[in-house]
Symmetry: C2
Subunit: 298 residues, 2 copies
């Protein structure tokens, strides 16, 4: 019996150590600058019945300004309850310090001390639920800012998705971080009498903003709809449905460009200490590509 | 309006290109040698109600002999039908060439031309279903060898899991690659009258082997059970259940060591062109840690 054979059948070969790696708990789409550097991170949660890839243009816009944008695919078929999505988001957050740098080009480094949380539609609700520790889910990394892109908490005040986030009490959100809420003016409009509005009034951006504390920013693009931040082309059955479920604007590009731009301005302000773009948007020194209503409390 | 502002709100910043990365379609556990080199790959599919982490000792044993072992978590709650698992395995296979090297240490290179497919229990069935193109699912990489570790195709001849793999006709497997089938002698024994056997006779290792063509190897560890290739300690509700659902041997280590060793010997033979260990096991020049029945057709 040779040593080689005994080693093969009985135990690990001592000359080669083994490394065990764990990939992310959910599939991720990642947009990152190719330029070398240390960049803040934005975790972005997709909306109901949507795929992370539908946000690729928005993600690339944000990433091109020096951010690493990470969009998990939280589910394909959602449950009524959002608990699994919240837990998955926490698990992904906890995985970042262990695994993210392995998925990036070698000279692109994630700055784990500058992490923002965001989501669109139901993903916005999930982001706030995690930030508010609604399930007592803790994360090993702290979030420094939170963004809701047309966030929605259910079908109406009496039909919130569990766990509910909105309390209908002003300034009730008891976390300590700056907030950006982006709203779509047409989100609360029914496309036709057969469909519900995609972002029903009462459980959408206005109510989310009203429950925030300082500092908080609220930008509403009046003539655009709930899906107008998505890619121009979204494939598959789910992708095709985005044409027709919501009341949308005439084209997605202006709303998507604005959303990407104001997210960049907000993150530059609160994660990079340069609020010049955010103030210029507020003061309308820049003509935005969409008609805007602006509120803020700083 | 400064250029910076216009850039922020309207479009991607031209000076930083963006890279979009896609992480694996399912979470993966990966065991790889830390030593530098180019290594063959073994894709390993977990069994019914089991987690990929339950195989960490087996995976590390195999990896330590110079292989990259990749175990996806295909599901937590399985469906009756195995179609999703087969499609996910194909998707993971297709992702390997794009993403695997990013998850490995820099000097550990995957040899995509030497890829083997394997699985335990229901995972073994899934592996064969993919190799047999049961759903007409094709992969961009070819498999060079296949391994079933106590594979099971349902509860009995009349209760196969869809899509069925076994045809009950000898030598029906019409793929062209070497096969290793590892069986557990106690897998077909009911632990008590309340439970079904974990690997019921008729849809288990014997039938899988009988439907193979040359070259094929069949090793059965007589006094060990269906779960005896798992880690000594398996956590959580699912992990704890592995103590008591199947008729098992007295300890897992001998069976797990044998399974790891014979997988290494088989892969060395067919992927690395060195069949010395495999022949030594066949000829009993090595005392295996378990009592063996051996069949082969080469």
């Amino acid at each position: 019996m040779s040593l080689t054979l005994a080693t093969t059948l009985h135990r690990c070969k001592p000359s080669i150590l083994v490394h065990l790696a764990i990939s992310p708990p959910k599939p991720l789409l990642i947009a990152n600058p190719v330029e070398a550097g240390l960049f803040p991170i934005l975790l972005f949660l997709h909306g109901f019945l949507l795929e992370n890839s539908f946000y690729s243009q928005l993600m690339q816009h944000i990433a091109s300004h020096g951010f690493i944008v990470i969009a998990p695919q939280l589910y394909k078929l959602p449950k009524t309850d959002a608990s699994d999505e919240i837990k998955s988001t926490a698990a992904i957050t906890n995985w970042l310090s262990e695994g993210l740098s392995k998925l990036l080009p070698q000279n692109v480094k994630p700055d784990l001390s500058k992490l923002a949380l965001s989501g669109h539609s139901r993903g916005g609700k999930t982001a706030f639920a995690l930030a508010l520790k609604k399930l007592n889910t803790s994360t090993t990394l702290n979030f420094s800012a939170i963004i809701g892109v047309d966030p929605v908490d259910g079908l109406g005040k009496a039909v919130q998705i569990s766990p509910p986030v909105l309390t209908f009490s002003p300034h009730s959100f008891n976390f300590n971080m700056p907030v950006l809420i982006i709203g779509s003016g047409l989100g609360e409009v029914q496309r036709n009498p057969l469909f519900l509005a995609c972002a029903p009034k009462g459980v959408s951006h206005e109510e989310f903003y009203s429950e925030c504390n300082k500092p908080a920013w609220h930008f509403v693009a009046k003539d655009y709809g709930h899906f107008d931040i998505l890619d121009d082309v979204t494939k598959g059955i789910l992708g095709k449905s985005t044409c027709c479920l919501c009341k949308n604007g005439n084209s997605r590009k202006p709303m998507r460009s604005f959303a990407g731009g104001v997210i960049v301005a907000f993150l530059k302000g609160y994660l990079k200490g340069d609020n010049s773009d955010l103030l210029a948007i507020r003061d309308k020194r820049l003509v935005a590509p969409v008609d805007l209503q602006i509120e803020y409390s700083v």
